[in-house]
C-alpha cells in the first residue's frame, strides 16, 4: 500500500516544475490494493499510468497530476478515501473505484460533491448507474450483468449443460454478474438447481464445496481474485471433477497467472466478459503491445486484466473529455460533465458512448480457458455478442420487472427456465 503512495508521490515529484495550480488537473485514483482483488488493483494503477504516459501526462492543455487512494474493497473505506481525495488532496476528478459495492457508495458520495466528477474504475454493480444514478458519476465500462451476456446461451446450446448449480460472491457485483449469466441461461431453458452464496474475501470454502450437488452438468463459479484461487485449490483437494462455468472475474488474467496448480482446474471452462486475450481487433492488439512494452515482464501480467482494462478505458474517456473542453473545469465542471455524457471515445474495445444513465454499452466476449504449449493459461474467444445494453436487450420496463439483482433474482422459471 505504502509502495503505491510512494510511487504516486514520486510520480508527482517527477512532473517537471510542478506548475501553478490552475495549469494542473488533479486526479485521484481510487483503487483496491488490499483484499481479494489486490492483484487487479495493481493492474488498474499500471493502466492509468499507461494511459497518461501515452499522452505525456497532458490533457486539455493541462498537466495531469495523480494521487493514489488505496482501498480494501469495502464501501466504508472507499467513501473515506474519496472524501480524503476531495477534501485534503483537493482533486478535481476521482477515477475509480474497483469493486461493486464501492461503486454504489461512490454513486451516493458523488451526489454530495456535484461540482466534481467521478469516473468509474471497473466496479460493476448494476445499481450504480441504474437505481437513482448520480449526474456526475460516469461509467465507461460495462456492468457485471452485461458481462454475463451470451454465456448462458452458450453453455446451454453449444455445451449442452442444462442443469447447473452456482456458487457466487455474496455482494452487489456477485449478484449482478450472476444475473447476467442467469438471464441468458434461463431464457435458453436451463435449470438452476441450487444457488450458493459466499462472502467476499472467504478463504476456506471446504464446507461450501461439500454442499455442491453431484447430479449437475456443470457448476457456475462467480467469485474472483484470491477467492477464486482458494476455491479452485480446495475444489481440487476435495476431488471435485464437475465441469465449471466461470463468472467474468473467475478466469481473469489475475487468476490465470497465479503461482501454483489451482488454476489448472479451469482448463476448458467457458466464461464471459469484456476482455478476450486473443481479440483480433487491431486496436486491442495495439493496446496489449503498448501494455507489454510499458512495463518489464515481471512487473505486469502477460496480458492486461479485466480490472486493468476498465481503468484504462475510463482513463481514456477522462482524457478525451478533458481535451473536448480544453481543460476547462470552471463553473462546477458543467462543461466537462456535458462533454463526458456525449463523448464517443475510441478505446481498445471499440468506440464507447454512454446512455442516459451515463452507462456504457458494448461488446461481450465468451471465452474458454485453454492451456498454451508452455503450460500457461489464456482465454480463447469462442463467441461474441455486440451492442449489449444496460437492460440486456430487454425494454427498461421488462428489465425493471425482473427485480434488482439479489440472491433470489432473477426468477429462473419466469424467464422460461426450470
Amino acid at each position: 500500500m505504502k509502495r503505491f503512495i510512494g510511487a504516486a508521490a514520486a510520480l508527482a515529484l517527477m512532473l517537471p516544475g510542478a506548475a501553478a495550480a490552475q495549469d494542473t488537473i488533479k486526479v485521484g485514483i481510487l483503487v483496491a490494493t488490499e483484499g481479494a482483488f489486490a492483484a487487479g488493483g495493481a493492474d488498474g494503477i499500471r493502466n492509468v499510468e499507461l494511459a497518461l504516459k501515452q499522452v505525456g501526462n497532458m490533457a486539455g492543455g493541462k498537466k495531469i497530476e495523480t494521487v493514489v487512494a488505496p482501498t480494501d474493497t469495502t464501501p466504508a473505506t472507499a467513501t473515506r478515501m474519496a472524501r480524503k481525495l476531495i477534501e485534503q488532496d483537493k482533486v478535481d476528478i476521482i477515477l475509480g473505484p474497483l469493486s461493486g459495492s464501492e461503486g454504489i457508495a461512490m454513486r451516493d458520495y458523488s451526489k454530495t460533491v456535484p461540482d466534481k466528477t467521478v469516473i468509474n474504475g471497473i466496479s460493476g454493480a448494476l445499481e450504480t448507474t441504474w437505481v437513482d444514478p448520480s449526474p456526475n458519476f460516469f461509467r465507461f465500462n460495462l456492468d457485471g450483468a452485461q458481462w454475463g451476456a451470451g454465456l448462458g446461451d452458450y453453455v446451454v446450446n453449444k455445451k449442452g449443460w442444462k442443469k447447473v448449480a452456482t456458487v457466487s460472491a455474496d455482494y452487489s457485483f456477485g449478484y449482478t454478474n450472476f444475473l447476467g449469466f442467469a438471464v441468458g441461461f434461463c431464457k435458453a431453458g436451463g435449470e438452476l438447481v441450487e444457488r450458493l452464496w459466499v462472502p467476499l474475501g472467504s478463504s476456506d470454502f471446504a464446507g461450501v464445496i461439500a454442499k455442491l450437488p453431484d447430479d449437475v452438468d456443470a457448476i457456475y463459479l462467480g467469485v474472483g481474485g484470491t477467492d477464486a484461487i482458494n476455491f479452485l485449490n480446495q475444489y481440487q483437494q476435495a476431488g471435485g471433477k464437475a465441469k465449471l462455468i466461470g463468472g467474468s472475474i473467475m478466469a481473469d488474467p489475475t487468476v490465470l497467472n497465479s503461482k501454483g496448480k489451482a488454476k489448472d482446474a479451469l482448463i476448458g471452462t467457458p466464461t464471459s466478459g469484456w476482455v478476450a486475450n486473443d481479440n483480433p481487433a487491431p486496436e486491442w492488439q495495439a493496446y496489449v503491445k503498448a501494455y507489454q512494452e510499458a512495463f518489464p515482464a515481471d512487473k505486469r501480467l502477460p496480458s492486461p486484466s479485466l480490472f486493468g482494462v476498465g481503468y484504462y478505458v475510463n482513463a481514456l474517456a477522462m482524457i478525451a473529455g478533458l481535451n473536448e473542453v480544453k481543460g476547462d473545469l470552471s463553473d462546477g465542471q458543467k462543461k466537462f460533465h456535458a462533454a463526458l455524457s456525449k463523448l464517443k471515445v475510441k478505446t481498445p474495445l471499440g468506440e464507447i458512448s454512454l446512455n442516459e444513465n451515463r452507462q456504457a454499452s458494448g461488446s461481450v466476449f465468451v471465452t474458454e480457458v485453454s492451456a498454451n504449449p508452455d503450460g500457461s493459461l489464456s482465454n480463447k474467444m469462442v463467441a461474441r455478442v455486440d451492442n449489449v445494453t444496460q437492460t440486456l436487450g430487454m425494454t427498461a420496463d421488462a428489465f425493471r420487472a425482473m427485480g434488482l439483482p439479489s440472491r433470489t433474482t432473477p426468477d429462473c422459471k419466469a424467464l422460461g427456465g426450470k
Binding site: A38, D204, F205, G207, A210, K211, T226, Q237, K259, G260
Partner: protein, 340 residues
Amino acid sequence: MGTLQNLGARHPIGTLVVLVLVVALAWLIFAPWPPGLEQALGRKRIFLNAILSGITLGALYFLVASGFTLVFGLMRNVNLAHGSLYLLGGYIGYGVVDATGYWLLAFPVVFVVVGALGLLLQHQVFRRMEGEELRQTLVTIGISIVLADLMLWYWGGQSYQVQSPQWLSGPTTLPFVSAVRSDGQAVYLSYPLIRIAILFAAIVIGLGMWFVLNRSRLGMLIRAGVDDRDILAASGVRIQYVFLAVFAFGAGLAGIAGIIGGTFQSLSPGEDTRFLLASLVVVIVGGMGSIPGAALGAVIIGLAEQIGLVYAPTYSVVFTFLIMAVVLAFRPQGLLGARR
C-alpha cells in the same frame, strides 16, 4: 480423573449439559440421520464436512496462535509482526517446494529461517525495550509494515499456492457414514487428505509442546517464567536465553503454519494481517498465554467460521467476533486463561 470428578461435584448442571451436548454431537457424527433431520439440516455429508473443515481450519489457526500466545505468556510482548512471519514462512516454503519439489523439505528450512529471523528480532530489537509494552507493540506494528512492503516488493501482488505432494492430494475415505443407499449399503465420507494430514500434524505439534512444557527442564523454566519472570531471573536462570528460544520457536511455528496455509488456501499480500487478526481472536477467546487455550480457541473459531459459512453465509463473519465479545464480557481472561 480427580479434577474431573471435582468438576462434576462443583458444577453438576453444567457438567450434565456438556455431557449431553457431547453425546448429541457424537450421535450426529456417527449415526445415520433420519429423514426428518436431513430435511432440517441438509444432507449429513454437508454437516460432517462443515465440522471437519472447522476442526482442520482450527488446526491451522492453532499453529499460528500457539507461538503468539507462548511469546505473550512469557514476555508480555504482543508481537503484532506475527502475521508477517506467517506470510514470510509461506513464501519461503513456496520457493523451496518450487525449487526442489519436496514439500516436506520446506518445513525444516522455513522453521530454521523464520526462527532465525525471530531470534534476530528478539536479540536486536525487543531485548532493548524489555518491559516497555507500548513501545514494543508499536515497534512490532512498524516491523510488520516494513516486512509487508518488502514481501510485496519481492513476491509481488499475485497469489501463490504451495503445491501439495502427490501422496497428499485428492480425497480420502473416512470411517464416517455419510449416507445409506437404498440397498442398505453405507456410503462413507470422502474428505481432502491434505486437511487430515494437517490436523494430524497440528495434534502432534500440540502434544509435543505440551510434553516439552510439562515434562522437560526447558518447559519448567518457561512455566516458571510465565508465572513470575523476576523471581526466575533472581534465582540465577539466564532468562534471556529462554526468551530467545521461545521467540525463535514461536516464529518458526508461524512460518510452518504459512506453508500449511499456502497449501490449502493461498498466499497473497494481506494474508499477514488476516492471520494476525485470527491469532488475536483465538488467544483472546482461549486465554492469553495458554497453549490448551489456544487449541480450544482455534477449534471454536474454526468451527464458527465453517459452520457459519455453510448454514448462514451472511452472518459467518459476525460469528467470530460475537464469540469474542461474549468471552470478553463473561470471562475476560479467556476460556482457559489464568486470572492475573
